[in-house]
């Protein structure tokens, strides 16, 4: 009886998971299928689940009539640099907050955390004034990169992760006369590799998909990122869904590859910070 009950529960669980999986995968499937259907002239988003005629027109419109390659390159440059800077600065700050004792450590950390409570809408205009008017960084990589060089969220994530690392190793290194930077580079960073990998993945995905800030900062077509470029296929009364789907498929490829290559770290990312040190 009990085993029958277990089987039933298992059956229901599997059914629900399969259904959930299908629901999750449908938008992705629709995007890919939509990119092979020429729905532009129709303007009515008639994308069927299996195209009658397979067409590469949306891809050719996406690549031939735009600076799509340049947008992809821009996204790659911006996301890569921001991934490196976030990993670098967040790991340094996370280490300092987790393992070093200095006056005002907790106060500074709480002030940083408090900045996370301020909605983006509030900081957007001052940031725009600072970057565009004061530093005159419009339509430049610096303008795209500088405001996101490190985020408090990432510092918090790294602080939580670093807290789980054994302090005794740091003490041992100090006894062996290792410098503070030496400890960071030789002891902490190698141990923090899983955490840093998760941080790198999340940073890359976030900045690759970022839309609004690149929209505000860029002016010329050549400086747009892929997400901003894709929005250009929406017109006053029509939308080139085919080209948008083709562009979105191309834009999501790095993410899909990244996900499958680093699946293990993604899963770790779900539980990072949840383990108390």
């Amino acid at each position: 009886m009990q085993s029958k009950g277990k089987i039933a529960v298992l059956g229901v669980s599997i059914t629900m998971l399969v259904m959930w999986g299908i629901i999750t995968i449908i938008p992705l499937y629709w995007m890919i299928i939509g990119s092979f259907q020429d729905s532009y002239a129709d303007a009515s988003m008639k994308i069927s689940m299996w195209p009658e005629v397979w067409s590469f027109e949306p891809f050719s419109r996406f690549f031939d009539k735009t600076m799509a390659w340049r947008w992809l390159l821009n996204s790659l440059i911006v996301s890569s640099i921001l991934t490196v800077t976030n990993v670098f600065f967040a790991s340094l700050a996370g280490y300092a907050f987790a393992k070093l004792h200095f006056p005002g450590r907790n106060t500074i950390f709480w002030i940083l955390l408090m900045t996370m409570m301020i909605p983006t809408q509030v900081t957007l205009i001052p940031l725009y004034i600072l970057v565009i008017d004061v530093f005159n960084l419009k339509d430049s990589y610096m303008g795209l990169i500088l405001p996101s060089i490190v985020s408090v969220g990432n510092i918090f994530l790294m602080k939580q992760y670093m807290s789980t690392l054994p302090t005794s190793l740091i003490h041992a290194a100090r006894i062996d006369a290792c410098s503070e930077f030496g400890i960071f580079y030789k002891i902490i960073l190698p141990m923090a590799k899983p955490g840093l990998s998760v941080l790198a993945i999340f940073s890359f995905v976030f900045h690759w998909n970022d839309f609004f800030w690149p929209l505000l900062v860029t002016e010329s077509e050549a400086m747009r990122t892929i997400q901003v470029g894709l929005a250009g296929f929406k017109f006053a009364d029509t939308t080139d869904f085919g080209a948008i789907m083709a562009g979105a498929t191309v834009a999501s490829l790095p993410m899909i590859i990244l996900f499958f290559a680093l699946q293990r770290y993604f899963l770790q990312g779900i539980t990072i910070g949840a383990v108390k040190g």
Partner: protein
Amino acid sequence: MKWNKVMAILLAAMLVVLSACSSGSKDGASDNVDVIKVWTYPVHGNYKDDIAKSVAEFHAKHPNIRIEYELLTWAEGPKKFDVALNAGSPPDIYYHGVSGQYVDTGLALNLDPYMTDEIVSDYLPGVLDKAKIQGKQYGLPMYQYQWAWSANQRILEEAGIDWRKIQKEGWTWSEFKTEAKKMVKDLPDGIKQYGIVTDATTTDFIEMLARSSGLVDVVDRDGKFIWNDERMLDTLKFIRSLVDEGIMPKETAAIDPAKRVEYFYNGKTGIASKGLPYYDVMLETRAKDIDAGKVKGEKIEHVYLPIPYKDGGKWQATVGGEGYVGFRQKDDKGEQHAKNTFLVMDWLTKGVHGGNSASELCVPFARQSQIDAFKGKDSRGKPHNKIAAEINQSHGVPSSDLYVDAKVSASKKKFIEQAQKPMQQALFSGSRTPEQIFEEFKNKGEQLFR
């Protein structure tokens, strides 16, 4: 050690890319060149090419002024502009209709000191008024826009509807209902054909019908809330009756703009709400794609129809002027810069430069120089729809936005978001009666426009 190397290489690469890629200031014009920034949109299909040509011609004529223009996207451009305006650094010129909100920032450029007699007389009568706020000129219209309904000629004629007469003389709500019912039928494939289809997300359907009942806007020219008038209740009852009587689909609450277009293209409705004369061009392009085998479907002959008006009332069309609005920045660049800004605005709206859009969009020209530039040239659009657009234009009633202050404009915006949008969903779905919605409008109006 290996880890050290990786970090060092990544950081070095980052610094190299940053220094190599940062483009620095783009305002690096020489001292004698004044840079005028223009933010515009793909106003018509070829606008990207047309504006590039206009700018090149301007540069050849005025080497001391450089136009830097950016084509924004329709979906996201307004958000970008809002941030720039609120930050105090809007572009010098922005493509849009004038708005009290712009004037309230103190950054909208009053064009009156630069308006010469030549420019004023070049504008067709009444057009300049469409870019004034409280009597002051802030924009130069490029064309006269209008919204009405678009219809499928085949379906109209199959139902025996004299659409040419409607284009010329207009129609009342009851006449519309009588005609629309003739279009409702079950098609052989089991699909129902409706008289009219609208969507539940855009707000124009209810606004245009309210206007046709005599309520020009949510507020009147004095900023007084007027959707508490009994005519609003009549409008709501009329819309609900269209659903109840099967003229409009029961699932209207779930229809979005793309779906509305799909109904129209698939011949599932005689009329689609929110039409414009430009449908002539869009449907012409679609017909070519059908011929080329790119698209399957019926080639639709477009008929531009006016909005029916309340019995006993009068024809009141939704019209306005769209073009370029001038701005100063918080860090004002001086009087000469303002003069140059105006010079560019005038250039982009006059003659062939501005006329291109009116011609492509099949809407009435705004300036005599545009008419002259296109005299004898083939223009797009069907002649009967062009005449219909001109007649409709003559019944135009400008929006109250041109007269009210920014505070009222802001309240109107809130009313649309907080009352009109949710309530129109409720109206289409039938979850609230017209009377309940009218009460909701009255209460919200009282709260917002006190």
